[in-house]
């Protein structure tokens, strides 16, 4: 069931286009990560969904109801902010109770002193308190309820912020880089917790992050936004293995994908070193194209074989793996290779090496960055290419 749907959301500030017609839908219980470099418009999009900002064009519907003109408070959306945005003058318990009190109690009942004399107020307050306690114990923050935000650590504040967002059972859950203020250890631990909470709540979640590993590890689907456009929305495996655009391919993956420029001839064949790819598109003239292959699908060999000849420039030892940076002899392009320590043991800086790629994992992109369909039709070693 579609819970949240966005259609053609566009926004510009004083001539600067921030969002260019973003459309997508989120199913019930789905976790969607919006990922992209800073300034790509992902936070703006989140604020528009929340109703804190208004789109110039486009519609937002929650559970089938158009909420484009509905103020933030009436959308029943909860949001966790990067800075947590806890009320500094209230204790954790009071912070969590605020969204409930604002919804359940009337303005009269919220008045200090006088409010407690009104009928029903005591009952509602007890009910709110019970819900706050339940929420707190499920997040294991019972012991923090009496503390003010200033007396808590980053991780504790983050949990209180999560509790405040979840306690009112929102119809959509938004998170704006909630982990970026935590230290690295805590961040990895908190990832799992957020995913757990999301499963329990069963509410569609939009999670904004600039950290690709967060996006890939947590989300059901990842939406990559670059320059105000939604380039691809797919599940993590698909988006990593089959990026639809060179920018998506470049943004995801550590180390970055290798991209080398070459040309496609009129029959749609691309030759790159010893690799021959058949593109499905044909054009009247030779066109420039880009070949992309992820570092883990490139192998380095110390012998004379391999499709391409290169020279080792630099090696980074990372424990379980070694990143080998090489430069191609023929065209001077840089190729990064994810290698194993045992493989890399025989290598040294400046050494000539051969490079092999897994042909099936080579991707072809057009000059505009769009993915082109292509399949490998042949492989030759560098030596053969030189002779033929």
């Amino acid at each position: 069931m579609t819970v949240l749907s966005l259609r053609g959301i566009a926004k510009s500030y004083g001539g600067n286009t921030i969002l260019k017609s973003i459309s997508f839908e989120a199913e019930a219980g789905e976790f969607i990560a919006l990922v992209g470099p800073s300034g790509c418009g992902k936070s703006t999009l989140l604020r528009i969904v929340a109703g804190l900002d208004h789109a110039d064009h486009g519609d937002i519907a929650i559970a089938g109801r158009d909420v484009s003109r509905v103020p933030a408070a009436d959308r029943n959306i909860a949001m966790v902010f990067q800075s947590y945005a806890l009320y500094p003058h209230l204790t954790a318990g009071q912070n969590i109770a605020v969204p409930l009190a604002m919804r359940r109690l009337t303005a009269m009942q919220r008045l200090p002193l006088l409010g407690s004399l009104l009928p029903g107020q005591r009952q509602i307050c007890a009910d709110i308190q019970r819900q706050v306690d339940e929420m707190a114990s499920s997040l294991k923050i019972d012991h923090l309820l009496g503390r003010k935000p200033g007396q808590m650590s980053g991780g504790q504040r983050q949990r209180v912020a999560l509790a405040r967002a979840m306690v009112r059972r929102p119809s959509v859950f938004l998170m704006d880089e909630p982990l970026s203020n935590l230290d690295a250890n805590l961040r990895v631990h908190a990832r799992g917790e957020i995913v757990d909470l999301h499963r329990r709540a069963g509410v569609p979640t939009l999670y904004v992050t600039h950290d690709q590993s967060e996006a890939l590890s947590m989300a059901d689907r990842v939406a990559v936004m670059i320059g105000g456009s939604l380039l691809q929305l797919a599940d993590p495996r698909e988006i990593y293995d089959n990026p639809s655009h060179i920018e998506v391919a470049r943004f995801l993956g550590q180390p970055k994908i290798n991209v080398l420029e070459t040309r496609m001839d009129v029959s749609g064949v691309v030759r790159f070193g010893g690799l021959v790819l058949a593109g499905e598109n044909r054009s009247a003239a030779e066109t420039p194209v880009m070949v992309g292959v992820r570092p883990e699908f490139v192998r380095v060999r110390a012998d004379n074989g391999g499709m391409l000849r290169a020279r080792v420039e630099r090696m980074e030892f990372l424990g379980s793996e070694v990143i080998v940076h090489t430069r191609l002899d023929a065209i001077g392009g840089a190729v990064t290779i994810k290698s194993t320590p045992s493989e890399a043991a025989s290598l040294s800086t400046g050494m000539p090496v051969g490079i092999d790629v897994t042909p099936e994992r080579v991707m072809l992109f057009g000059r505009d960055g769009e993915r082109l369909a292509a399949k490998p039709i042949g492989m030759m070693t560098a030596l053969e290419t030189a002779n033929g």
Partner: protein
């Protein structure tokens, strides 16, 4: 405090500070001294800080009996409190809107506030006086309070402070279901105490000590504020009885001095105004 040795630098610092403090306190100390002297001693050629004959009781009883000191003090409290409350009630929503809401007139309002900061009360005193006279509200609390109800200084001060409140906090409050007025009352004000305290000092001190405006609009002793009462006292009762005059002055400065001594720490906090930490 840990035991600190008296290094040369520290001694020098303390000497300079003590000297400065002495210069600033000298008139007040002299006033305290004079309040305890008899008429003959004040005008004698010898100058002693400590009165040779203690006439405090005499002088204070003169000050208290010849002028209705309680009325003066109560008027002072009422006027200062009204001015302060109205100023805060007007300035906080205004500053909030200018700091956190986006609207067309924001720039124009900012310019108006700046212009307002540049215009002294003396420039508008005459038109205001004429207007109050036509409205027949001279000699009333209204005349004393109304001209100060909109304080551009307060708007400016709060504006600077509110700008430092994170936008996220305001937006979280909106998502939690608060109206804009609710945000001001429940989020902004509870976090703006340092700014409000700082402004309270400026406002209360300025209006407690103000002589200019009360002198213009008040001729009835029942509405006299402390400085104005002092003026009447000198003109009508004391003449050149400086002992009684100093005693009266001591009485009316006492509330501010006590307030400052009691809330010293908060005042300093308010003025240094360390920003809001979430």
């Amino acid at each position: 405090m840990t035991t600190t040795s008296l290094s040369i630098g520290r001694v020098a610092r303390l000497t300079v500070l003590s000297f400065g403090a002495l210069i600033f306190l000298a008139p007040y100390i002299f006033m305290i001294s004079t309040a305890g002297k008899a008429q003959s001693e004040i005008f004698s050629s010898s100058l002693w800080l400590i009165p040779q004959q203690w006439s405090y009781i005499e002088n204070f009883s003169k000050a208290l009996s010849r002028v209705s000191m309680s009325t003066l003090l109560i008027n002072g409290v009422i006027v200062c409190a009204l001015i302060f409350v109205v100023q805060v009630v007007v300035a906080i929503p205004c500053a909030y809107a200018m700091a956190k809401l986006r609207f067309q007139a924001a720039r124009t309002m900012m310019v108006l506030v700046m212009i307002g900061l540049l215009v002294p009360i003396h420039a508008t005193a005459l038109p205001l006086y004429v207007a109050f006279d036509r409205l027949s509200v001279l000699n009333s609390y209204l005349a004393l309070v109304a001209p100060f109800s909109i304080s551009v200084f307060a708007i400016f001060l709060f504006l600077q402070f509110f700008r430092a409140i994170p936008d996220d906090l305001i937006q979280a409050a909106r998502l939690d279901g608060m109206s804009e007025a609710g945000i001001v009352v429940r989020v902004v004000v509870p976090n703006a105490w340092p700014a409000i305290t700082a402004f309270a000092i400026f406002s209360v001190v300025a209006h407690w000590n103000d002589l200019f405006w009360p002198l213009i609009v008040v001729t009835n002793q029942d509405y006299a504020t402390p400085p104005l009462g002092l003026l009447y006292f000198r003109a009508a009762e004391a003449g050149d009885d400086y002992g009684a005059l100093m005693a009266a002055t001591l009485i009316i400065t006492l509330p501010l001095v006590t307030a400052f001594l009691l809330a010293q720490k908060r005042f300093v906090e308010g003025i240094t105004m360390t920003g809001l930490k979430g």
